[in-house]
């Protein structure tokens, strides 16, 4: 007890040692907190690019190609989304670094970004659609299509157009539905026509026109189709009109999406193939968005 008392006494005395310790603590604690909490949390979230598209269009292959640089890995059907850290290839400059001096040492470091792959299987598309509606620094969206399955009357074209319609509709709703005064960041869409190395693949211009035509069909049949269950059954939330693009237009054009801050580009390329991958234009598109 006596020892305890002495200890307390010594502690409460204005001794130089106590003062020194107190000052030391007062200075080091903020530094310590800064280095532990702030540093470890990471300064910024990396800009991310979302890869979506129907099953078998080559999303995971593209992901591995972008990560490894030279050759895509063998892949199978994905079941889970995956985010991979990629860096822009040498020679391409991100759009945000446009005005920097060439001698800026930070320019030497590759610009990094997250490429998010999503499963394309019909039952697992909610992964992708959730990522669109809830973007974390989402800079753009790459919609991969298999250009070899897009000839008119093909089942592949129908599935692809359906999915693309849903995605664009979500983007449109996001633009029109937001009540906030602050304008949302636009999300550009790149329709990457993959598998151009195949003989049956359509050229990019044809991919664009056939997708536009098919989306027009989707749009009309959706508008004529039955209502969803749950609507008009008591607890009906007022569903807004689900018309993609310009109201009253007969044919859908990707340019109609610009009204909703969604720019759509169609660019061809291939991930695999005999003469190696040709993805330079896609890289260019990505670097312009970062």
């Amino acid at each position: 007890m006596a020892a305890m008392g002495r200890l307390v006494h010594a502690l409460l005395n204005p001794s130089p040692l106590g003062l020194a310790i107190a000052i030391l603590l007062a200075i080091t604690i903020p530094i310590f907190l800064h280095s532990v909490v702030f540093r470890s949390s990471g300064l910024i979230t990396l800009p991310s690019i979302l890869l979506i598209g129907p099953s078998g269009s080559g999303k995971t292959s593209l992901l591995t190609l972008f990560e490894r640089g030279t050759k895509a890995a063998a892949t199978h059907i994905s079941q889970t989304p995956i985010a991979v850290e990629c860096s822009l290839p040498v020679g391409s400059v991100a759009n945000s670094d446009r005005y920097r001096s060439e001698n800026d040492p930070t320019n030497q470091a590759h610009k990094k970004f997250l490429l998010v792959d999503t499963p394309g299987h019909g039952k697992l598309r909610h992964h992708a659609l959730e990522n669109i509606t809830n973007p974390q620094n989402l800079k753009g969206l790459i919609f991969l299509v298999d250009a070899a399955t897009l000839s008119a009357g093909d089942e592949g074209l129908r599935q692809t157009a359906d999915y693309l319609h849903d995605v664009l509709l979500l983007l449109q709703k996001r633009a029109t539905g937001s009540k906030a005064a602050k304008a949302l960041k636009e999300i550009p869409v790149l329709i990457a026509a993959n598998k151009m190395d195949l003989f049956t693949a359509l050229p990019a211009a044809l991919v664009k026109s056939s997708l536009e035509a098919e989306i027009s069909k989707v749009r009309t049949s959706r508008s004529k189709g039955l209502l969803d269950s749950g609507i008009g059954m008591g607890d009906a939330e007022d569903e807004k009109d689900d018309w993609l693009g310009e109201m009253g237009s007969i044919n859908f054009k990707f340019s109609q999406m610009e009204e909703f801050d969604v720019s759509v580009e169609v660019v061809g390329g291939n991930v695999a193939g005999g003469e190696g991958p040709t993805v330079d234009k896609w890289w260019k598109w990505i670097s312009e968005r970062l």
């Binding site: 995971t60 199978h76 059907i77 994905s78 079941q79 889970t80 019909g122 039952k123 008119a152 009357g153």
Partner: protein
């Protein structure tokens, strides 16, 4: 023999693969879609962790059988593909051992976020396992004279494990194996080694193995010469690595070279091999002291110590593999019988309670049991059939065991979200169900495709009194509003008044849609005729007269009456409908599973149902469990939902709505 072995992640990237025969990627893709995504095969054993491959039902596709296992926390899938004709008893063990090895060796690499790259040099481990297990399997089969030599060679663990290996392999396989793996021993006695390859069309793997061993030996000899010669080509690290490898491989079938030795026999006696291997070690050691001095030194000392030539690498690998497998086994038995004192248990109990509230708790079966029971009761109250409810809950439980709860997340909330996502996964159709576009594609195909326009045929089946005719006329009304020309066929030639009932519907529909431009007619041939023939005739008539859609009504039938159901197969063949829809009422409870299953199977092997119409959903309120039961039993999507008495009361299924209703608590 094995055709291929792949290790892939759930995100679809193949981490490591070995293929002995060209196999199409569609084989494994179909495994993933059917087993993992759509859960089409019975989910008796499944996606759970630590389930050995033996407990997972083998998946058959074309002529191949796939054996698989998963590691949930790392998102890994291990698949072995082999021809269904073969019976490989050791395949389960192979898949399990490879799983254990791979996870142990590369587990920390796999846990890294934001990358798909895994540096793995797994080939030698895999080869070692294959060799070992083939050896074991052979050990079982051939109780021939050479067993002594075998036992001497086999590590102790193998001779132990050989006790619980399944009974002998079929002769053809064992012969193949004895040829491949033990040609040195068997050939001396001229056992039927030389069976022609034609009898075994699918066993190139063995040849590859032996083929590797043979030239491997040669290669190592060449490399040795090269190392002795002043040329500097063997100085890279890569080369020494390969050499080490080759030396290891060459060592096992060392005697085999003698068997092989028609032209090479001159320098193949045992003594020079025995003598040269240490020499090799020494020379390579001298060559690459800078590169890999440590490794080489070690190897050197061992080979000198044992004086067994190039076998050291193999032994090394064997030991490593054995130790990994043994430690994994030990870990498993440890967790099985976790002893805890009173203090320990009470502490952990308090911790568990605390974590229950705060989150961050790793879920175990005990934690989940009670909550899962509650969830099961909840589903049963929602009129989900017991079978479906139990399987759903089992699936969710398997998914959750070993998962950590989030911050401030209770077990119940975790189960709720898991159940929601699994319900959503079940109810979401694989492909889009846009009926109008499908009809358009058939009735007005694009000019490019070579199809001729023809009427789109929809037929409707179901048990008695569920509302087949009513729903048929609802669909008809929907089509008429979209200006199609519809022919309704009275396929119910059995029940009195059925034809007249349809006639009334057609009259009403005509009146209702006359202004909108739809056209509808009834095709009927009275009572007593064969429904299949009537349908066939009707389709011919429709094609002739330019109808867009043919809707065929059928007689209601009890799903467990074989006599009535058997006529459906003929019907499907004759009418060949584009869509066969089954009407099920939302009111039915447990029976829904059997109904759906029997109807799904009734159309013969090549045909199944294309969709369900769940009628009378307005009469059950929240209890829409029938939806889940039927889809769960058959994996056929719900196309429409009937929500009222009027022609307009037909809806597409909104998955969100259904899941909300199913999980709402009241």
């Amino acid at each position: 023999m094995l055709d291929s072995f792949e290790i892939l992640t759930t995100s679809g990237v193949v981490l490591w693969s070995r293929s002995y025969a060209p196999t199409s990627p569609s084989i494994i893709n179909s495994l993933i879609t059917n087993v993992f995504i759509e859960e089409r095969t019975l989910p008796g054993a499944g996606i759970a962790d630590d389930v050995s491959a033996a407990n997972n039902p083998p998946y058959k596709h074309d002529q191949h059988t796939l054996k698989w296992t998963t590691v949930k926390e790392l998102g890994l899938i291990f698949v072995a593909v082999y021809r269904s004709l073969l019976h490989l008893s050791w395949i389960d063990k192979l898949v399990d051992n490879i799983k254990t090895l791979f996870v142990d060796l590369y587990g920390d690499q796999l846990k890294k976020p934001h990358t798909t790259l895994v540096e793995c040099h797994f080939d030698e481990y895999f080869d070692q396992q294959i060799r070992e297990l083939e050896k074991t399997a052979l050990n079982q089969d051939s109780r021939v004279a050479e067993s002594a030599a075998l036992v001497e060679e086999a590590p102790p663990s193998i001779s132990q494990s050989s006790g619980d290996e399944p009974p002998p392999l079929p002769g053809i396989l064992s012969r193949g194996q004895s040829k491949n793996a033990f040609k040195d021993l068997t050939s001396n006695e001229s056992t039927p080694v030389a069976t022609p390859e034609t009898s075994r069309p699918s066993t190139p793997a063995g040849h590859i193995l032996t083929g590797k061993a043979g030239p491997g030996g040669k290669g190592s000899r060449r490399a040795r010469k090269a190392a002795n010669a002043p040329s500097a080509h063997a100085s890279s690290g890569e080369e020494s690595y390969a050499k080490k490898n080759r030396a290891g491989k060459a060592a096992a079938p060392k005697k085999g070279r003698k068997w092989n030795a028609d032209g090479l026999a001159d320098e193949d006696s045992d003594t020079p091999l025995d003598y040269s291997a240490p020499a090799n070690g020494a020379t390579s050691g001298e060559d690459e002291v800078k590169d890999r001095s440590g490794a080489v030194e070690e190897v050197d000392s061992k080979s000198w110590g044992s004086k067994t030539g190039g076998r050291f690498v193999l032994k090394d690998l064997d030991d490593q593999v054995q130790s990994i497998l043994a430690s994994a086994d030990a870990k498993k038995s440890d967790t099985a019988a976790a002893p805890a004192g009173i203090v320990g248990s009470s502490l952990s109990a308090i911790g568990g309670l605390f974590r229950n509230v705060v989150g961050g708790k790793t879920l175990t079966k005990e934690d989940l049991d009670k909550a899962m029971k509650g969830m099961e009761d909840h589903l049963l109250r929602k009129n989900v059939a017991r079978e479906a409810a139990i399987r759903l809950c089992e699936g969710v439980e398997r998914e959750l065991i070993g998962v950590k709860t989030g911050n401030f997340e209770s077990v119940q909330a975790k189960i709720q979200t898991a159940m929601e996502s699994s319900l959503r996964k079940i109810l979401t159709p694989t492909s889009s169900l846009d009926l109008l576009r499908e009809i358009d594609a058939v009735t007005a195909p694009s000019a490019v495709s070579l199809q001729k326009p023809r009427p789109y045929v929809i037929s409707i089946v179901g048990v008695n009194g569920v509302g087949k005719s009513t729903n048929l006329s609802k669909i008809c009304f929907f089509l008429l509003q979209n200006k199609y020309k519809v022919l309704i066929v009275a396929g119910d030639t059995f029940r009195s008044g059925a034809v007249e009932q349809l006639a009334v519907h057609v009259r009403n529909l005509k009146d209702l849609t006359a202004r909108e431009g739809g056209e509808v007619e009834l095709y009927e041939k009275g009572y007593g005729k064969d429904a299949a023939n009537v349908a066939k005739d009707a389709i011919a008539v429709a094609a002739q007269k330019g109808y867009d859609v043919v809707l065929i009504d059928t007689a209601g039938r009890r799903h467990n009456d074989q006599r009535l159901m058997s006529s459906l197969e003929k019907f499907a063949k004759f009418a060949n409908p584009d869509k066969i829809l089954m009407v099920g009422e939302a009111l039915v409870g447990t029976d829904s599973v059997a109904q759906a299953r029997n109807f799904n199977a009734a159309f013969g092997s090549g045909r199944s149902l294309d969709g369900f119409i769940i009628s009378k959903c307005d009469t059950v309120g929240d209890m829409v469990g029938t939806l889940v039961s039927m889809v769960h039993a058959t994996n056929v999507p719900v196309l429409f939902v009937g929500v009222g008495q009027h022609y307009t009361d037909l809806r597409n299924l909104s998955v969100k709505w259904a899941v909300e209703k199913l999980l709402s608590s009241n």
